[in-house]
Amino acid sequence: MTAAQALPLLVVLPLTGAALLVAAGRWLPRYAADAFGCAVAAATAALACLLLAARSGSAPVEWVGGRRPVHGSGVGISLVGDRAGLGLAALVGVLVVAALVHSWRFFDEPPSGQNGAFPALVLIFQAGMGGFTLTGDLFNAFVFFELMGVISYALTGYRVEEARAVQGALTFGFLNSVGGYATLLGIGLLYARTGELGFAQIGARLDARPGGGDALVTGALVLVATGLLVKAAAVPFHFWLPDAHTVAPSPVCMLLSGVMVQLGLYGVARVYWTVFAGPGGVPEQAVQRALLALGVLTAVTGALLCWLQRHIKRLLAFSTIAHTGLFLVALSALTPDAVSGVALYLLAHAGVKAALFAGAGVLVSRFGSVDERELHGRGRGIWGVAAVFGLGGLALAGLPPFGTALGKALCEESAGPAASVLFVAVSAVTGGAVLRVTGGVFLGLGGRGAPADGGRAARAGREQQAEETSGAGEEPETGVRLTRVPDTMLGSAAALLAGGLAVGCVPALWRAVGETAGAFTDHAGYAASVLGTTATGPVLSAPPHWSVPGVGLGLLSVVLALAAAAGGVRAAGGRRPRWSLPLRRLHSGHVGDYVACAMVGIALFALLLW
């Protein structure tokens, strides 16, 4: 079997595994279902890694159904195994295995006769994400987008006994569906203009049209990007993300925050470079402007709200939003260097963030709470988890040699000095928030805050109660509270953190990422490799590497983060500033609000692109 022929297996394998799990769900004991799910996920991940390592020369391209195009026009769907796609598929695989290992002891109550429901859902999720990364066809990408969506709503609402869980899953479902339909409208517009559905084919047709892009092309980009930006949680499309992460089981959060959100960004970048980057597409300056504006808005909003949270999972969710904003700001340079920076940042962030969510999962299972104040000082003694949180916070802030620091440094280099300020500030605030939690929960630093008695403080607490999500009184995800931390949970977290560290330490990876970024941003090269025509090779840039200013800025943001954490610990339990009230009120858990904001977001994005 050639590499190309094996590409569809990255989708087919997990789906088959899921079908078998469902079919055998009645007879299979729990541990067997879990083990089988893990094995299938690991096999798929291994296949992705193998394909990634084995490839030589041009990217393998498979036309499913053997419908190879003749003279650049065909009827089939292509799967493109370029390094960006395969790399993300491998990342998906690794995170899915980690999540399944983490969830080894989760969920005491599967639906009757469906012992394998959770691993089966996760496997289908893996298939959806794998298909989305590999596909070379716009409508096919929409199909896998919806597959990811449907499974993630179900996974988010998995703990149906919790009132919040079902609400969060529902708002997630509504917002993502609206985004998906906007994307489909955009696909319809592109099909009307070009009569094609493949990325490369649409791009070629757009370029062949005299006069370049017009309002239709721009409108199509806005609509197609809407769904992807909803998935990527760019402000103001982001409202589903904090709610979903607050309520979803921790292993699901690992997948959502670790890779699914970033797949939305990947989708935006992929669609832009393959379809809209040519002469018949959308002017570069307009795209730069739009991405930069959205990115700054997203980063600032995410960082502010991250700092203001006391619900630990919600705090981590907002930090994901802040980092999405940073990725968008970096991407807005639209250069290969920026893409390799984002790629490294994204890889390391996936490891770190997933490890942090795994740590939060341990807290839920052990204490039945993820409330920073309620847990104050109670985490003494579980040093493994404390280390995960501490190192995770430092890595988020950008401590060399974590991959996050390398990615951040590269992004700063390509985005310019003004953006560097934003990068340092945002990573310091998000890292500082996590360090504040570490100091309070695991070291018992600072005051407990929000005392249970006394007039004014309690009244203030009640006042705030109405406007915040506390995180106390969570049902332990394991059904019963654990008395000790299971090795599976801690082991998966440690491995993920080590992965985040490795991204910053393996020069071979940097080289590969550099080459990948060159090919990824090559509009003509992609079309050539898919349609089998010839083109000049991509511009090769110097492989990414550490630089002195980058390390310096990384250390600076770590220092700032520590200072912020120290200040935060001291002021623990204080009232949240009044000016943040309108911002917090926007996050109301109300479907109507979220849809209204998403509409404004579409209009805003269109305005920025015009």
């Binding site: 409508f139 199909v143 919806e146 969506g149 449907v150 709503y153 179900a154 609402g157 149906v160 006994e161 919790e162 009132a163 919040r164 079902v166 609400q167 969060g168 899953a169 529902l170 708002t171 479902g173 509504f174 569906s177 609206v178 339909y181 906007a182 489909l184 409208l185 319809g188 517009l189 099909y191 009307a192 559905l197 904090p242 709610d243 607050t246 309520v247 203001l308 949270q309 109405a466 406007e467 915040e468 999500t469 917090r584 009120r585 996050h587 109301s588 858990g589 109300h590 479907v591 109507g592 609000d593 849809v595 209204a596 509409m599």
Partner: protein, 115 residues
């Protein structure tokens, strides 16, 4: 006439979104989402229509005898219909659970997940 179908598609999309945003009942909101989705059916099929064309099915016409409408958009719409039905089912299931756990399906009365 040359843009009427597209305008109808746009209208349905906006109407569905307005319905969702102003809904006082989550079941009604799911129904509005279905309206929103029907805009995609209308747009896709309108894009593939061809004046004077017949359905792309050769059960009663000879191949090549008449112009055909675009079969690709029809296949896409078919997929879309399935997606819509399944999303509706899943969202309704979640609404049923919201009703159980919160005792209401009015989004204004859901007081969790703030800030």
């Amino acid at each position: 006439m040359s843009v009427l179908p597209y305008l109808v598609a746009g209208w349905l999309f906006l109407a569905g979104c307005v319905g969702m945003a102003t809904s006082r009942n989550l079941i009604h909101a799911v129904g509005s989402l279905a309206v929103c989705q029907s805009s995609t059916y209308v747009l896709l099929l309108a894009v593939g229509y061809r004046r004077g064309g017949t359905a792309p099915v050769h059960s009663d016409i000879r191949p090549g005898s008449r112009p055909l409408v675009d079969p690709v958009v029809q296949a896409l719409t078919l997929t879309d219909v399935v997606v819509g039905a399944t999303v509706t089912a899943l969202l309704l299931a979640l609404v049923v659970q919201v009703a159980k756990r919160h005792g209401t399906v009015d989004p204004d009365e859901l007081r969790e997940l703030r800030g």
